[in-house]
Assembly symmetry: none
Homo-oligomer: 200 residues x 4
C-alpha cells in the first residue's frame, strides 16, 4: 500500500523535478507516508529511482515484444506500427522520458546509467530486428544504416518532446489540439522519411 504510493509519487516527482531536484522529504509528503518509509522499502533514493524505472520499462518492453513478434504483418507495417507506438508512448509520458534521458546523460552514477541503457537497448533490438527482416525480404534497401535509423526514431521524437518547439510553431489552437496535431504530424513525417530512405 505505502510501497505503491511511494512508487507512484516517485514516478510523478522524478519526472517533474529530476532525480537531484526531488528530495526524499518531498517524496514522502507527496506519497503521504513517513519519510523513513523510503529507506524501509527501497533502501535509498537511488534504489527507489531504479525500481520506478524498472516498473515503467518492464511494462513497455512487454507491450513492445507482443507487437514486434507477430508474424502476420509485413516489415513496413511493423515499422509503421512501431513509429505510431513510440510517438504515442513517449509523448504520453513526456516528462518521464525526458527525465530518463536527462539522467542518462549524467556521467555520474555510472552503474545506474549502464543498467538503464541495457534495458533501453533491449527495446532497440526489437526495432533492429524489424529492419533486418525487411532487408532479408528484399522490401528494404541493402545499403541502409540500421543503427542510425534507430537513432533517428528516438532522436526525433525526443527532440520534439524535449524542446517543445512545436508549441511555438503551432500556436493557433488550444493545448489539447496541439498535442494531437504534433503526434499526427510526427507520425506522418517519420513514415514519409523512412519510406523514402528505406523502400527499394
Amino acid at each position: 500500500m505505502s510501497k505503491e504510493k511511494i512508487l507512484d509519487a516517485g514516478q510523478h516527482l522524478f519526472a517533474e523535478k529530476g532525480f537531484e531536484g526531488t528530495s526524499v522529504r518531498a517524496l514522502a509528503q507527496a506519497a503521504g507516508v513517513n519519510i523513513a518509509m523510503i529507506s524501509y522499502y527501497f533502501g535509498n533514493k537511488e534504489s527507489l529511482f531504479e525500481a520506478i524505472v524498472e516498473r515503467k520499462t518492464a511494462y513497455t518492453r512487454q507491450r513492445l515484444e507482443e507487437v514486434s513478434h507477430q508474424t502476420t504483418a509485413s516489415p513496413v507495417e511493423k515499422l509503421d506500427f512501431v513509429i505510431d507506438y513510440y510517438v504515442d508512448l513517449i509523448l504520453s509520458n513526456r516528462k518521464f522520458h525526458l527525465m530518463l534521458y536527462r539522467e542518462l546523460t549524467l556521467a555520474q552514477r555510472k552503474d545506474f546509467h549502464d543498467h538503464i541503457l541495457d534495458i533501453l537497448q533491449k527495446n532497440w533490438r526489437e526495432l533492429q530486428g524489424i529492419l533486418l527482416e525487411g532487408q532479408d525480404k528484399k522490401s528494404f534497401k541493402q545499403d541502409i544504416d540500421t543503427d542510425m535509423v534507430i537513432m533517428t526514431v528516438f532522436g526525433v521524437i525526443n527532440q520534439c518532446s524535449q524542446t517543445g518547439i512545436l508549441r511555438k510553431l503551432i500556436d493557433k489552437q488550444d493545448v489539447a489540439d496541439q498535442e494531437q496535431e504534433v503526434r499526427k504530424r510526427l507520425k506522418q513525417y517519420l513514415k514519409d522519411l523512412f519510406h523514402a530512405y528505406l523502400l527499394v
Copy 2:
C-alpha cells in the same frame, strides 16, 4: 582576470557534472579564486551559468551566420555543409551540448529555459531558411515538413552523442578512430536520408 577564470572553469565543470552537480565551492576551487567571487561577479550560480551559455552560443551563432548567408552555394550544398558543420560542432563539444539539452528539459528555471531556446531558435531559423530556399528554387519537394527536418538534424546528432551507443556497436577500433568513424557515418547517413526525403 578572475572573471574569465570563473567562466572557463564553469564551462568545463558544468559540462562535466551538470548544473546541480557543480557546487560553488568546486567552481571557486577549479578557477583558483575565492568562493565569494562567484556571487561578486555574477550574483548567483544561475546567472553564471547563463553567462557561460551566452558566451558559448554567441560564438557558435556568429560562425553559423557567416556560413549560411553565402550566396554561391546551392541549397543542397548548403544543407550538406550545415550537416557537416553541426555534426562536428556537437560531437566536438559533446559534454557541453549534452548538458545544455539536459538543463533545457528541466521545467524548473522557466525563464532560463526560454532564454536558451530563443538563442537556439535563431540558429534553427538559418537552417529553415535553407530549406525554404530549396523549395523556392524547386530543388526540394513542396510537401515536406521543414520543422521536422530541423528536429531530425539535431535529434539524431544529439541521440548519437547522448547514448554513446555507437561506441558499443563499433568496438573493434580504438577510441580516436571510433570518434572519427561515428562522425563520418553520421554525416553520410544524414545526407542520404535527406536526399531521399527532400530531393524532387
Copy 3:
C-alpha cells in the same frame, strides 16, 4: 527460544560493537527474530543489555565463590589462584570485558553504572577477604593498601587486554602463541609483584 537467541546475539554483538554501535535491527537480524521482539521481551535496548550482563556476571560470580571459600589453601595460594583465574577469565572474554568497562566509564546511564558496579564489587570483596585473612594470619604485611591491590589486579589485566600493546612487543610468534605468552607473563608478573609487596 527467541529470548535465548536474542541474549546470545546480544552478548556477541555488544562485545564486538559496543552498546551505541549495536542497533536493534542488527540484534534482531543476528538473532534471526523480528525486530519488535527486543521490545517485546526486554522492553528496550538498555534492559536487554542489563539482562546480558546479569547472565554473564552471575555465572562468573558463582565460579569465583566456589573457589575463594575453600579452606584448605593458604592466603598466598588463594591469591595466586585468583590471579590465575582472573587472567584467564578476562583474557578469554576480552571483548566482553572491554565493553563492560567501556560502558562503565560513561557517566550517562547512571543507574546502570551503579548496578554493574555493585555486581563487580561483590567479586572484589572476595579478593579483599583473602587479603585480610592473610593479614590476620600474619603472612601478609600489616601496612598494605588492600583496596589498591584489588585495583592493581584488575587494572593491570584490563590495561593489557585494552591496549593490546603486548602484541606489538612480542611479534616473533604467531597469534595463538602470543596469547599464551601474554597470559603466562601476566600471571608470573602479578605473583612476583605482590609477593614482593605483600609478604612479610
Copy 4:
C-alpha cells in the same frame, strides 16, 4: 576564534559524553557557532576529535619529555616523579582520559585507534627508558618485566579513575578532600609497590 571555541567545546563534550554521544549540533551549540563551522574547520566530526586529542597529548608529551630527559635525578627519583606526574595528570583530567581509553577499545575506527596508540606509546617509551636506565645503573633488579611495570602504572591509575570505587571506600569526607586523599594514597601505593618490586 570559532576554531578555538569548537576545540574547547569538543574537549569538554567528548570527555563528558564520548564520541558517539556527542552530536555535531551539540558541539556547535556548546561552542556558540553555526553547525556548518565544524565541517568548515575540521572536515568532519572524526577529524575534530583527532585534532582535540592531538592538541591535548602534544602538550602532555612535551611536559613529559622535559622531565624525563633531565640528568641530575636518579632512576628512582625519576620514577617517583613520573608516578606523581601521571597521577595528577590523569586524575585532573579524569573524564578526558577515561573517554580516550574508552574510544581506544572500540575496534571500529581502526586508523584512529592506531594513531592514538602511537602517540601514547611515545610517552610509554619515556617511562621504559627510565626503567632500563635503572637496570643499567644496577639500582633496579635485572629480572623485572618492564613492559608490565608500564602497564601497571597506567592500569592502576585508570582503574581508580574508572571505577570511582574509592569514592565508595572513603565516604566520610567531602568531595574535594576525597580527591586529594585518593591522589595521595595512589602515589604512596605505587611508590611502595615498585620500590618493593624493582629495588635490589
